[in-house]
């Protein structure tokens, strides 16, 4: 489902953010991505979604080689992914409902189907009562959960979550992890970048550990 083969990423004037990264994730596999601040976790996730392009190496997503992908195909790649951003990336001039509906709207889905799916997603993150509020009127943790709902609303094949529980209390974090595990059960590949040691120890999955852009450890 997801293959990195000797991938490098160099930002201009910032040195290598990723060096020689190789790993493989099967369909329905779930992994943590850990490492110190600035290790390259977000960069790795951005490469998969083609938010950044790798400088060197090969990257396969669902059988497609990203190096050979045309600009016009990128939107359709992204529709297969569920992205949770470290900085949420919400639209503050749209309601919670409209924020979560966006990935469905761009596919041209009918409004009844959209409403049904958005409500289901909001229900899963415990925000069903707040669909008509604007994000600025919500707490930090509530905003983070909007981002999570938006990532899962289009039933993606791969979920890439960047620090999805940074602003959630332990109880909610556990609920979100349960949600991810449900997706994993139905064959979704899940990759979670996180610092939350407590979470990692409670929910046991394999770990990819980065240090200064290099994978140093791949254990259970």
């Amino acid at each position: 489902m997801l293959t990195f083969d000797r991938v490098f990423k160099r930002y201009p004037d910032a040195g290598d953010a990723l060096s020689d990264v190789s790993f493989h994730l099967d369909k329905g596999e779930m992994r943590y991505l850990t490492g110190h601040s600035g290790a390259g976790k977000s960069t790795l996730l951005k490469l998969i979604a083609m938010i950044e392009r790798s400088s060197r190496g090969q990257l396969l997503v669902d059988g497609q080689n990203l190096g050979q992908m045309r600009d016009r195909q990128i939107p359709f790649l992204r529709r297969k992914l569920g992205l949770i951003f470290q900085d949420y990336k919400l639209l503050f001039d749209r309601t919670v409902f409209d924020n979560v509906a966006l990935p469905l709207l761009v596919t041209g889905m009918g409004q009844y189907e959209i409403a049904r799916r958005v409500r289901a997603a909001l229900d899963k993150v415990g925000l069903l009562g707040k669909e008509n509020k604007y994000p600025l009127a919500l707490s930090g943790g509530e905003q983070q959960r909007i981002g999570i709902a938006r990532a899962v609303v289009n039933k993606p094949a791969i979920i890439l979550a960047d620090e999805p529980t940074g602003n959630l209390d332990p109880e909610l974090s556990a609920e979100i992890m349960h949600l991810f595990e449900q997706f994993k059960q139905v064959g979704v590949t899940v990759l979670i970048a996180t610092h939350d040691i407590e979470l990692i120890s409670r929910f046991d999955h394999k770990i990819l550990q980065l240090e200064h852009g290099r994978l140093i450890n791949q254990h259970a």
Partner: protein, 329 residues
Amino acid sequence: MKSVKQNKDLGANTHKSVRRGNEGRISKLLQRHKVSLMASLWRLLATPYTTAMAVMVMAIAITLAGSFYVLVSNSEQLVNSLQTGKQISLFLEGGISDQQASKLAQELRANELIEQVTLITKQQALAEFKQYSGFGVALNALEGNPLPAVLQVYPKETLTEAYQLKQLMAQMQNEKAVDIAQMDMAWVTRLQSIIQIVSRVVLLLSSLLALAVVFITGNTIRSELQERHDEVVVTKLVGGTNTFICLPFLYAGFWYGFISGVLAWLIISLMLLMIDGPLGQLSLLYQSQFQLHFLTIGESALLIFSASALGIIGAFAVVSQQLRLVKPE
């Protein structure tokens, strides 16, 4: 009321699920375009000041271009009408009474070279002057009436040769009651050549103004694109295609052009209406067959259509260029 609306919704739904063929898809697409079109209009109206400024500037540009067109088409007609209206004005001596003037007019009408003679009495002249000079009531303070009576002499159409007119004029000039006899022909030729130059300049200006419309729409769309930068980025991140992202901006460009076009049409028509009255009176005075040329339906449609097209072109130029600069992708 509510149940009616629900029924309607349900109806639409059933309708959709019954025919899911190509036709259904197209009607769905059209429906979506209609929704986006109206959504962009609301968005424009949500920032009324900015929209008003852009539309105002564009409307001014379009109005100028349109006015130029009207000016040229009218002045050609005007000049033509002037050429047929060779008239001689006889300004009478100050001491001549209206009776005497009327008598002189009668005499002149007997002349076989003359088609018609109109008398403008001193009172009429003063009234006219009040009306056209804009001094109005201020002139009531004047003691007496300093203006002379005027006889307007229209020679027969058959009198085409210049020397015939000249003879006629000299003859009238010699009348004791006549102060000045004046025939305005030279300025008509001058006017003609001036109009020729103006009309060419005006064509050039109109193309410049069309460019200005494209530029203004483009710039307005550019700043809107900057304002909605986050929206564009997030839409891209959740898999929105460029077409999906561009459309609202093209619609916005259309609306800017369309609204400005309609506004310009209104302004031009209003200006023409306002000019029509006085001009009609003036034409009457000069016995001219000049008729103000309003915009025809075809010309009006062309004006508004061109404005809309220019708006879309401006939006398209900017969006297609700027979207490439937005990271990611």
